[in-house]
């Protein structure tokens, strides 16, 4: 109850400041639309169905990109954490790939992967990958050596040690990576759409901004992305709380 109250107050203050700035500055709508203008535009976008049409595509990209990216990242992170050899061989490529701006690579990836949903999922997964893989590696490495020795004394196989000790004890750190990763998935989806797509919230931003000079619609798209990001982040937190309730 208190948390919800705080969230409402914080939103109200944000809207009030926004309104104040737009009134004092006297900006034209195409520079900074006031909040009520954006709300009205949002109502029309919902009514005409374009908001849902674009959101549905972006949501699908986020869900698939995050699922693929997080799964491969956790598996890679486990291998990196368990084997110094794997880390030595793979980590230069992983770090180098992370240092290259994905924005520059995205058009190329779009061509390589056929320009469809697959290409966008791959781009989104790549952006999601790094923080989750690194978090998993660090988490696996931080396994209590005393517990590891205890399991070894019971004759646990390598797979049993991973399943029963290393992964569970890495979970809090892995979830730290998942929280970062899920917000990056939203950015990944938009970047992927900019590289080549005909629908999606990223596309809607471009249409509104460059095609129509419809700044309120651009704000609607941005706000929708923010809400999606918050919702997925919240979902990860809820799963984390349920899994780590001890």
């Amino acid at each position: 109850m208190r948390r919800i109250g705080a969230a409402i107050v914080s939103l109200a203050v944000f809207l009030a400041v926004w309104k104040l700035v737009s009134v004092i500055g006297g900006y034209p709508v195409y520079i900074l639309p006031p909040p009520e203008e954006v709300v009205a535009r949002a109502a029309r976008a919902v009514g005409s169905g374009i908001l849902w049409e674009h959101s549905a595509v972006t949501l699908l990209e986020i869900v698939l990109g995050f699922a693929v990216g997080a799964t491969t990242a956790i598996l890679t992170g486990i291998a990196l954490g368990k084997s110094v050899l794997v880390e030595r061989v793979l980590s230069p490529y992983i770090v180098a790939a992370q240092a290259v701006p994905i924005l520059a690579l995205a058009p190329l990836l779009d061509i390589w992967f056929g320009g469809g949903l697959l290409a966008r999922v791959v781009i989104c997964a790549l952006i999601v990958f790094f923080p989750i893989a690194i978090a998993t590696m660090v988490g696996i490495r931080s396994t209590d050596p005393l517990l590891a020795e205890m399991l070894r004394s019971l004759g646990a196989t390598n797979a049993q040690r991973t399943r029963l000790l290393e992964v569970p004890s890495a979970l809090p750190v892995i979830f730290g990576g998942l929280r970062v990763g899920v917000t990056l998935a939203v950015i990944g989806a938009v970047v992927a759409e900019w590289a080549g797509a005909s629908t999606g919230l990223g596309v809607l931003i471009n249409i509104a901004n460059q095609g129509l000079f419809d700044t309120p619609l651009m704000f609607v798209a941005l706000a929708t992305l923010a809400v999606i990001g918050l919702a997925f982040y919240g979902l990860v937190v809820v799963v984390e709380r349920r899994l780590l309730s001890h």
């Binding site: 517990l147 004759g155 569970p168």
Partner: protein
């Protein structure tokens, strides 16, 4: 993967001319050198010695967690392997898995060997009952006192019914009173079922209270300085330590510990503990 031998008594343990080295920052450390010890099936042996004399290393060798660089370690004539079901190891710290309930912690060894969930929980519950922890089955380790946690660890070491029980200072972190009850219970468990028990400790009185034979080790590189047979009747209550014979034995063990320190300067000095 693990055979489950279940003889009426324990198994004998033979340690022959064992040497162990560890790589350390300042060069290799010789933890054990020419260490020999014969432990009879079903006997209660207490190993005592100063810090760093390789007592824990010796237990790890018997548990199969380490292989000796030279010499041999045998349990019933075979090289021990972790998970071979012949040894149960209880560490200085309880080492319970924090996200598992007490009963799930105790059932862990059975889970590793593929015992079905119903059976392993039932057996774990019985093992907990034996160490007086039945009411704590559903509690996570963070809710257990130090003594309770160590009891759970003992139950875990015992659940596979290993013929050889290895105890690495399991009571050292407990207060004196808890420790005494613990010793009583350990003795009772051993009298019920004569496993081979090897207990490592720092405490002379604990050694006298529990052992058939006290093995005194020298400082690094560790080997057996002397063994002292404890010819006191069982069960031995706590008051027994006031007994004159017990006092005599304690003096003998302390003297051997003192010699051990002297031996540090004269590594060639006579030693023949492995009766």
């Amino acid at each position: 993967m693990s055979s489950q031998p279940n003889p009426r008594t324990g198994l004998d343990v033979t340690i022959r001319d064992v040497g162990v080295r560890f790589a350390a920052s300042g060069g290799d450390v010789q933890a054990l050198a020419d260490c020999s010890l014969d432990i009879g099936a079903g006997s209660f042996t207490v190993i005592i010695g100063p810090n760093g004399c390789g007592k824990s290393t010796l237990l790890r060798l018997v548990a199969g967690l380490l292989s000796p660089a030279s010499g041999s370690v045998m349990v019933d004539g075979r090289v021990p392997q972790p998970g071979d079901g012949r040894t149960g190891l209880c560490f200085q710290q309880p080492r319970l898995v924090p996200w598992r309930s007490t009963v799930d912690n105790v059932a862990l060894p059975l889970e590793l060997t593929g015992v079905p969930v119903g059976e392993r929980i039932e057996r774990a519950a019985r093992a907990l009952d034996r160490v007086g922890l039945a009411s704590a089955a559903r509690i996570r380790p963070s809710g257990l006192s130090g003594g309770m946690a160590q009891r759970a660890a003992l139950a875990r070491a015992l659940i596979g019914d290993p013929p050889v029980l290895l105890l690495d200072e399991p009571f050292s972190a407990l207060d004196a009173l808890t420790r005494e009850t613990f010793n009583d219970e350990l003795q009772r468990l051993w009298l019920e079922r004569r496993r081979t028990v090897i207990l490592v400790t720092h405490s002379v009185s604990e050694a006298i209270a529990l052992a058939d034979r006290v093995v005194v080790m020298t400082p690094r590189p560790g080997h057996v300085a002397r063994t002292v047979e404890v010819d006191l009747s069982r069960p031995r209550p706590a008051e027994l330590l006031g007994d004159p014979r017990a006092a005599e034995l304690a003096v003998e063990v302390r003297a051997a510990l003192g010699e051990g320190h002297a031996l540090e300067l004269q590594p060639w000095a006579e030693q023949d503990g492995a009766a």
